[in-house]
């Protein structure tokens, strides 16, 4: 069976720091796969390599059957990416944001207009489609960002912490849309998250990363069973990353915190 995403000994070093260490992973077509881990575990670095923004130091990977190093353009055509940082332009309306995405993916005009209206309808943004994005709530912004990433109907979608900074209601709405999207389009989704309930709720399989290495892989249930009877995914997380007592790395660096809070503030 051909994997939607496959990595072989993928490795990335920043100077003397190894951010991702010999990562071998296979995501099946149509699967929602969650990459979990504390801050600095290498989740975002992994995604950046898979979406061709960062060349790996060694190892290789294919996304939708295309090699990330040698077929970067083909990879870019087949993926959608929702960054952790705010990626919709607040000074433009939702329609204009979608229009830019449509143009950048070279969708022909009649089909582009059709898809934009369809995307707005799907995300429940039709009525506010002409309002400036900076007047939106955080949940609406995230939905718009996902719509932008899905406009060209890519077979693989990357979501980097899709619900960071959102309140519980907005988070549920985002989950709901991710699930619907997956059902309707059969998209393979790779998402990263800190939230265990999110992973349990959305993902069929999860991989737990710690210090650049994949330390656990399986369905949420099988991982919980491995740790002990009645264990929650939170227990699983603590078990595999051991970050409970290690206060020097827990919660990320000052830079991580500043960045997360900034994103949270902008999402309102």
């Amino acid at each position: 069976m051909r994997a939607a995403i496959e990595t072989r000994d993928l490795r990335r070093e920043f100077g003397s720091v190894t951010a991702v260490d010999a990562l071998s992973l296979e995501v099946r077509p149509g699967e929602v796969f969650g990459l979990l881990g504390p801050n600095g575990a290498g989740k975002t670095t992994t995604i950046k390599m898979l979406i061709t923004l960062l060349p790996p130091t060694s190892g290789s990977a294919t996304v939708a059957g295309h090699d990330i190093a040698h077929e970067a353009r083909a990879v870019r055509r087949s993926i959608g990416y929702v960054p952790q940082l705010l990626s919709s332009d607040g000074a433009l309306s939702a329609r204009e944001n979608l229009d830019i995405s449509g143009h950048l993916y070279h969708i022909p005009a009649p089909e582009r207009r059709e898809r934009i209206e369809e995307a707005l309808r799907f995300m429940g943004l039709t009525d506010v489609g002409d309002n400036l994005v900076r007047t939106y709530s955080g949940g609406m912004v995230r939905r718009l960002e996902i719509a932008q990433a899905m406009l060209h109907a890519p077979p693989v979608l990357f979501l980097d912490e899709p619900t960071v900074g959102l309140d519980p209601t907005a988070r549920r709405a985002v989950w709901e849309h991710v699930r619907k999207l997956r059902e309707r389009e059969g998209t393979t989704i790779l998402l990263t998250t800190h939230y265990m309930d999110e992973a349990a709720e959305l993902c069929e399989r999860v991989g737990i990363m710690h210090l650049g290495k994949l330390v656990a892989l399986g369905t949420p249930e099988s991982l919980a069973a491995e740790v002990g009877p009645g264990a929650s995914l939170d227990d699983v997380f603590t078990h595999f990353t051991g970050s409970e007592l290690d206060d020097t790395t827990a919660g990320g660096t000052y830079r991580d915190v500043a960045r997360t809070r900034r994103t949270a503030r902008r999402l309102g």
């Binding site: 979406i51 870019r76 993926i79 332009d89 204009e96």
Partner: protein, 168 residues
């Protein structure tokens, strides 16, 4: 359709030839910037404050004071290209910093992940980070000069040409 077929399925639309794509993508990015300006034209005015201050206030005062020897060239003509260059440079610096400060970094990532021509994304840099007509005050600065009936560009080409030093 099974999800496996979806992965195997060719994605996207016929890619335009690279030269065409370059102009298309560049226009897309530039258009976005122009639309922003259309939503909020007051930005044009706020950006114009600094060059206007230089030209109309400080420039005027120094021109009257005749403190700087400019030879045959009127002081305002001497000053204009510098103010133009300065406003272009400053906009470049400040908007470049905005990207580094992650204000626009998410948007930049979104552009870079798309199959758009990398070269064409440079206009994102050109528009956001440097003197693109719509976003920059240098246009206003130069129109001030044209309004006055003298072109700063002409003077740059012929700095030594004798001419009547117009007074403001």
């Amino acid at each position: 359709m099974t999800s496996l077929e979806r992965v195997a399925r060719p994605v996207g639309w016929a890619e335009p030839p690279s030269a065409v794509r370059f102009f298309q993508d560049a226009w897309t990015v530039a258009q976005g910037e122009l639309r922003k300006l259309a939503h909020d034209p007051t930005e044009l005015l706020t950006r114009a404050v600094q060059p206007v201050l230089w030209l109309l206030v400080f420039g005027q005062v120094l021109a009257q004071a005749r403190a700087i020897p400019t030879g045959n060239l009127g002081y305002m003509d001497f000053l204009a290209p510098g103010v133009l260059a300065q406003s272009a440079l400053f906009s470049a610096i400040f908007f470049g910093i905005a990207v580094i400060w992650e204000r626009d970094l998410g948007v930049l990532h979104k552009y870079l992940v798309s199959p758009a021509s990398r070269l064409a994304l440079a206009p994102y840099g050109v528009c956001v980070c440097s003197p693109c007509p719509g976003r920059n005050s240098s246009v206003i600065a130069s129109s001030l000069f044209w309004a006055r009936g003298s072109s700063p560009w002409l003077r740059i080409q012929s700095p030594n040409a004798p001419q009547a030093t117009g007074s403001w």
